[in-house]
């Protein structure tokens, strides 16, 4: 007996009716398989399975099944090939051949049915051949009379005009191509089958296309080659009238048995141990090499770009292979490793190596799904040669092959690497040298793969078909990661690299291979850098003096109540300048200025440059030792200070004390000075890695270029008012001070310290109608979220620089200040403030670029061999051109090391090595990616960790020291010091304060017994423990609920173990960004506005509580286990238990609809806020909830409700309450299904946590790929869940899979009573869910209401009205 799967076999034809139903299988033609007799045709009985052989899936198949189950409508697992057959073909005999091959191939006759015991494959004895033949008929192809009964002559009417044979063939090919693509896009129903399909297209007189599509679950690439060769063999025999050679295929049962034997063998355990060891050698977290720089969930489709390397490529690769005792696929793998290493800027890569998995086994004769993918890690030291790399490939692949039966999916699972960002491997290199040298009774055939299966990242498929046509390379990319241009670039460069490898000598080091093509080289070196601009030879100060003469009465400066005209400012500065000249100030000399922000500061700086000297800004807040060092190093002729005692006396610098200084005797006119553009304009110290700050000397030509470019680009006018708030020791202040003064605008000077207070800044901007200002991005974020930025409508231009500008900040800016433009600038002090610029566009995708080069400036992104990186590839950023500093004062060696010869620019030019990682975009902008060294930027301030380490190590009792910037929570950077030795860490932190500037003092110092070291003895920075901030040692108990709540909030926000009521926020590791978060939490909890400033003033819980004590009663914590949605009311409370994401806010709408007298409490998961351990079982979780519910309502009757996972929990809570002797009068389940329905289903990956968050808000997930996307969707929808912090989202990412796991392990007990059930009745992917499966777990009735919506929509709008109506009716009944 057999089953005929007829549903899909006949092609129904498309709307145009141009295709015949090419079902060639008349009833009698079904091939006898030899063991079950003739086919018994039973139309319509497609799913009958009484005689099918039922087999479990192999592990390889299970992987595919789970992948398909995660997205049942995805066609990604359709694989297909197309063979072009050149010569006469008999469609009847071909169909007969296919039928025989189908009969011989078990894998083609299965369908996969899900059962409570897991998926099973049902092997039918026969299936009817799903073949469609498209033969437009002989009219198109002259001299052909052998028209068969399957010929479809309707095609003529479809395209009646063509007479030209060639046109007809081309049209036929195009139609065939479209048909194949459409078929490939159809998802396959695994349970229904068949899992394959054939089509035959006649596209010329003697030209045919044979299309073969098979689901990857049953066939791999090698399997295709077996099928094709066997089909050719049988067809050829049939044409010759011979009996085909006997079947050689092995059975599917053999594969299953073999797999089963392996998985219970010692070899399996040994392989598992091997891969665990392998992972440990990678440092436990092998880093997938990602060309796109990120991962993504597998898409439903892939992008493909095909190339045919020039003839002879394989032969040349073979020559390299012969030289290295390897094979040409080994050479290809090495080439891809080299490409990947270069393109990802890494010296270690992990490639994916697909293996056919059949060597030494009978599986060689079984067409089926056997192949596996294994991670291949390779080390690419730049000094090694390519030949050495190939040898490494040979050895590592050899080792890998010994453990090749262990599945990729199992390795990932063992390592806990699930989800989009946790891939195991980068690009796959899939070399398929499978023999396709076949002919069909003499008609040669050429195979072309149409789909090789899902593409996680990038797969390079290389085919050698043995058909005399050389290699064929398909680059398949995940569309979520690569666009067409990017894919094309990767392919072109790869082929270019292959070409170079084939032509290079054996000794060429890896560093000599660049990946940029010559065209890309020209683009990034010249095209993107065309910035030449002739400029007048002015200095920093000349244009200011011209402007003062031009508009003497215009307001130059405003500070508090004081304002100065251009003439007034000019005269004061001139008199002071003349005084400074008497003290030796002039071109080439340095004058220090240490004056707090004030009118006097501006006058002093201007006076120094008017005198012709370079100014050295000294931050009055810097520690004395640091100031002394700078004074000694820079040897200024004098120092301008506001008052005596401002600077340490030990440097011996002559002081000019402004307090009491009388310069009225000096002329008020501009001083003469022999100043040139090459003289230094200013000298600014930056952090130095050796422990001493280094002075950067910037000449007039550089800063003048910078200011002229800025004016040309942003067009400041006399009406503009520019905020001066940046400390003068930070080079951004240079343009703030001088740009407005060159063009007649007004400088609005902020109070000292004002730059740290967003509220003050907002007021100042508003009151002074400031139009232009600068923010460091992290401060901009704080300003936008905390201050009343909306009141700053006068702003038209805002510049951000100093650290990476997050996309969210740009978007927040767009919402808060729609009338202003935000510009992202970048540059080190060594290149006159900024060298790149980018106009930000709110809502634009991707990272915010730092932009393209300013005037007379060239940017280079170079690899380790100082070769230009093509667009998209990361390298180190080098700067060249007019804005470069002269170098470091008194540090010729350091200068020579950082300012090196520019090999790409004019002879004699220099380029500055920034130490910044960057890459070009295709549009000639640069993206900043981080640092190459240990220099860090913290809130815009440049910090050399070495300097902090040196300072720590110099302290008593410290043996060893290191410093890192940690980001234990996304977006929250903290500087942490680590020491060994006997010193008290808290005391060390205090001891650093007098030595280092405030921003360089670590938030915490952690004492270690020893530093964690890697295998090579190097410090493993990522192994350093997160600091534990603990206060409250011996502290008093909080007094009163408010103090207690605040103490708890402090601990939460700071992630501190203990906080006492008198512990200060900033002593416990608090940062300004954490302060923002605390303020937000206080607002949430108490409904009270609190400013950052008040936290500075009242930094302890006790002090803050005192401030808040006059305000209203405390609201309860929105993330606590019990969430009172409506606490009042006389009726028995309804407890609504959270869905998978753990939050019960989704029931707020329900509470509102159930009426004022119905109390409703949400029950929420533990662990949303604190570090509570997640429950291990649903039973444990439910028992906890029972305790929490009884704390609110000690005795029944109880009313319980739950949506999704919450329903399963509600049922369990109900059972537990009943078992405790309590009465449960209502159990309402909202589209919740019992555990056993889920048990055999795949547990969600990380991505599903995002789905869960969206579902809690009532949305299906569409294109949200990252937590940020999800938050954006929630925000657009106005969902309160948008306000969830990163930390809560991170916890949900753990809570969701934990629920998924617990669900699957849960065993239900019986609930005594009726079940009120609400079904989301819209069609769903999980069509196996069935509320009837609650039957065994409920003693009473199941009363159901169908709602016309999807599962996520259940708690939205009209459906919620229906649910509330039913619940209200039911509870009224109960009350009565």
């Amino acid at each position: 007996m057999s089953v005929l799967l007829t549903e899909n076999t006949g092609d129904a034809g498309d709307a145009g009716g141009t295709e015949s139903s090419g079902d060639l299988g008349a009833a009698g033609n079904t091939v006898d398989t030899g063991n079950t007799g003739r086919a018994d045709r039973r139309p319509g009985s497609g799913s009958g399975s009484d005689t099918d052989t039922v087999l479990p899936l192999t592990a390889a198949q299970s992987g595919m099944w789970f992948a398909q189950a995660l997205d049942p409508l995805s066609p990604a697992q359709n694989t297909a090939e197309c063979l072009r057959i050149e010569g006469p073909l008999d469609p009847d005999l071909f169909a007969t051949a296919l039928r025989r091959v189908t009969a011989e191939t078990d894998a083609l006759r299965v369908r996969v049915v899900d059962t409570p015991g897991g998926p099973r494959q049902h092997l039918a004895a026969t299936v009817e051949l799903p073949l469609t033949v498209h033969d437009p008929g002989d009219a198109d192809y002259t001299d052909h009379t052998d028209v068969t009964d399957v010929t479809d002559d309707t095609d003529d009417t479809d395209d009646p005009d063509h007479t030209d044979n060639t046109d007809g063939a081309d049209g036929a090919e195009a139609r065939a191509d479209a048909w194949m693509r459409a078929d490939l896009a159809e998802p396959c129903d695994l349970a229904k089958g068949p899992l394959f399909r054939h089509a035959l297209f006649r596209v010329g007189q003697d030209r045919w296309l044979w299309y073969q599509r098979i689901h990857h679950l049953v066939m791999d690439g090698y399997g295709y080659s077996l099928l094709v060769r066997r089909t050719a063999e049988i067809y050829t025999a049939l044409v010759r009238g011979e009996e085909p050679p006997p079947r050689t295929f092995g059975s599917l049962a053999d594969l299953v048995a073999q797999d089963d034997a392996y998985r219970s063998s010692a070899a399996f355990e040994a392989d598992r141990a091997h891969w665990a060891h392998w992972a440990a050698e990678c440092g436990d977290r092998p880093e997938a090499s990602r060309l796109a720089g990120r991962g993504a969930l597998p898409a439903r489709t892939f992008r493909r770009r095909t190339a045919y390397p020039e003839p002879g490529t394989k032969e040349r690769l073979r020559a390299v292979a012969d030289r290295t005792r390897s094979t040409w696929p080994d050479v290809l793998i090495a080439a891809q490793a080299l490409y990947t290493a270069r393109a990802t800027d890494r010296s270690e890569v992990v490639l994916g190596l697909p293996l056919m998995g059949r060597m030494g086994s009978a599986a060689l004769r079984v067409p089926g799904m056997v192949m596996n993918v294994l991670p291949l890690r390779l080390d690419l030291s730049p000094a090694a040669t390519f030949d050495e790399l190939v040898r490494q490939v040979v050895l590592r692949v050899r080792e890998l092959r010994r453990h090749q039966r262990y599945r990729y999916e199992d390795i990932r699972r063992d390592l806990g690497l699930l989800g989009e960002s946790r891939g195991l491997v980068g690009p796959l290199v899939n070399v398929m040298p499978f023999d396709y040298g076949v002919d069909f009774a003499g008609a040669p055939a050429r195979a072309r793969n149409l789909s090789a299966g899902p593409v996680e990242d990038l797969t390079v498929n290389v085919y050698d078909r043995a058909d005399g046509r050389g290699l064929h390379v398909d680059h398949d990319g995940n569309p979520a990661l690569y666009d067409d241009a990017e894919l094309a670039a990767h392919q072109e460069r790869f082929l270019h690299l292959l070409h170079r490898i084939a032509g290079s000598g054996a000794d060429a080091p890896l560093s000599s291979y660049t990946i940029a093509t010559p065209a890309e080289h020209e683009l990034v070196v010249d095209e993107f850098n065309r910035t030449g601009r002739a400029l007048p030879p002015t200095t920093l100060v000349g244009p200011i003096e011209s402007r003062a003469a031009l508009t003497p009465e215009a307001t130059a400066l405003v500070y508090g109540d004081t304002s100065l005209t251009y003439a007034g400012l000019n005269e004061r500065a001139n008199r002071l300048a003349r005084h400074l000249r008497t003290l030796g100030a002039g071109p080439g000399a340095v004058v220090a200025v240490s004056v707090p922000r004030s009118v006097e500061l501006v006058v002093s700086l201007l006076a120094v440059v008017k005198a012709g000297a370079a100014y050295l800004p000294l931050d009055p807040d810097y520690p004395a030792g640091r100031l002394t060092y700078m004074l000694q190093d820079a040897a200024p002729v004098c120092a301008v200070v506001d008052r005596a005692g401002r600077l340490p006396a030990d440097a011996g610098t002559p002081l000019v004390v402004l307090d009491g200084l009388d310069v009225s005797g000096y002329p008020r006119i501009d001083p003469a000075r022999p100043l040139t553009r090459d003289h230094p304009a200013y000298l600014i110290y930056t952090s130095g890695s050796t422990g001493r700050p280094k002075g950067v000397v910037v000449p007039h030509a550089a800063i003048d270029n910078r200011l002229r470019w800025m004016q040309d680009t942003y067009r400041l006018t006399a009406g503009d008012r520019v905020l001066q708030k940046t400390p003068s020791s930070f080079d951004v202040s240079v343009w703030e001070f001088f740009w407005p003064l060159r063009v007649g605008a007004t400088l609005v000077v902020a109070e000292p310290g004002g730059h740290k207070d967003p509220g003050y800044l907002a007021r100042l901007i508003h009151e002074q109608a400031v139009t232009v200002c600068h923010f460091v991005p992290s401060m901009l974020q704080v300003f936008l979220s905390e201050a009343d930025a909306g009141s700053c409508g006068s702003l038209r231009l805002v510049f951000a620089s100093g650290e990476a500008l997050p996309r969210e900040t740009v978007n927040a800016f767009g919402s808060a200040l729609p009338g202003a433009r935000l510009h992202n600038l970048y540059g080190p002090t060594e290149a006159a403030v900024d060298v790149t610029y980018h106009a930000c566009v709110p809502g634009a995708p991707g990272p915010v670029p730092i932009g393209g080069p300013v005037w007379n400036t060239r940017l280079y992104v170079l690899d380790a061999a100082l070769q230009p990186c093509p667009p998209g590839v990361a390298g180190e950023l080098y700067l060249a051109g007019r804005q470069l500093a002269d170098g470091y004062l008194n540090r010729p060696e350091l200068t020579a090391c950082r300012f090196v010869a520019d090999p790409f620019g004019p002879p004699g030019g220099r380029m500055y090595r920034t130490g910044d990682l960057a890459r070009w975009t295709g549009r000639g902008e640069v993206e900043y990616l981080g640092r190459t060294d240990h220099q860090v930027k913290l809130r815009g301030q440049r910090i050399e960790l070495g300097e902090i380490e040196t300072a720590l190590a110099a302290l008593d009792g410290v043996d060893g020291a290191c410093a890192v910037v940690r980001e234990d929570r996304p977006g929250e950077q903290r500087l942490v010091g680590y020491v060994t030795g006997r010193a008290d860490p808290a005391a060390l932190r205090a001891a650093l304060a007098p030595v280092l500037p405030e921003h360089m003092v670590p938030s915490a110092v952690v004492a270690l017994d020893a530093f964690p070291l890697g295998p090579s003895g190097k410090l493993e920075r990522r192994e350093l423990p997160a600091p534990v901030f603990t206060g409250g040692g011996g502290a008093r108990r909080p007094s009163g609920p408010r103090e207690e709540a605040l103490t708890r909030l402090f601990a939460q926000v700071l992630e501190a173990e203990r906080v006492g009521p008198d512990d200060a926020f900033f002593d416990l590791g608090g940062t300004s960004l954490l302060a923002v978060r605390l303020v937000a939490r206080v607002r949430e909890e108490f409904g009270t506005e609190l400013t950052i400033g008040s936290l500075f003033e009242a930094p302890t819980p006790a002090a803050l509580a005192a401030r808040l004590d006059s305000t209203g009663p405390a609201a309860s914590d929105a993330l606590g286990v019990v969430l009172p949605l409506r606490a009042g009311g006389e009726r028995p409370a309804l407890f609504a238990i959270h869905p998978a994401g753990g939050i019960a806010w989704c029931y707020a709408g329900l509470a509102a609809r159930l009426g004022r007298d119905q109390p409703v409490y949400g029950v929420q998961a533990r662990g949303l806020t604190g570090d509570e351990a997640l429950p291990r079982t649903l039973h444990e979780e439910a028992a906890d909830y029972v305790r929490q519910i009884r704390a609110v309502r000690p005795h029944g009757p109880y009313r319980l409700l739950g949506w999704s996972v919450g329903g399963v929990l509600a049922h369990t809570v109900a059972v537990l309450l009943q078992e405790a002797g309590e009465k449960v009068e209502l159990l309402a389940l909202l589209d919740a299904f019992p555990a056993e329905q889920w048990r055999e289903r795949p547990a969600p990956e990380e991505g599903d946590a995002l789905t869960a968050v969206l579902r809690m808000a009532g949305f299906d997930r569409t294109d949200e790929n990252t937590p940020d996307d999800v938050v954006a969707t929630l925000r657009r929808a106005g969902s309160p869940l948008a306000g969830l912090g990163d930390r809560t989202l991170a916890r949900i990412v753990d809570i969701v899979p934990n629920h998924a796991r617990m669900m699957r392990e849960h065993r239900h007990r019986r609930y005594e009573g009726d079940l009120l059930f609400f079904t989301a009745a819209a069609p769903r992917a999980e069509d196996w869910l069935d509320r009837e499966s609650w039957r065994p777990h409920v003693s009473g009735r199941i009363v159901n209401l169908d709602l016309d919506c999807t599962h996520p929509q259940l708690l939205r709008g009209p459906h919620l009205d229906d649910i509330a109506a039913v619940l209200t009716a039911r509870t009224r009944e109960l009350d009565a």
Binding site: T327, W328, L364, D435
Partner: protein
């Protein structure tokens, strides 16, 4: 000219970059680094030089010199 066991071993060793004396006759050659591409290359060479008719799967299924000898026409 017909293949000999020694010639097979010598060719296998050559493709692996090993010394022939390190290649045993009776062991699974996969453990010594033989893979499908090398088998295909060897087979190609033996077909050309020695008129061998064995199929890839024949060799790949039992990758040992002793198992190959009869398939490769060694008497």
């Amino acid at each position: 000219m017909a293949l000999t066991r020694e010639q097979i071993r010598s060719d296998v060793a050559d493709s692996l970059g090993e010394n022939p004396s390190d290649i045993p006759f009776d062991e699974n050659l996969l453990d010594h680094g033989l893979d499908s591409v090398r088998i295909m290359a060897l087979l190609e060479r033996w077909r050309r030089d020695h008129g061998v008719e064995a199929a890839f799967a024949d060799l790949a299924e039992q990758p040992a010199i002793d198992a190959w000898a009869p398939l490769l026409g060694v008497s």
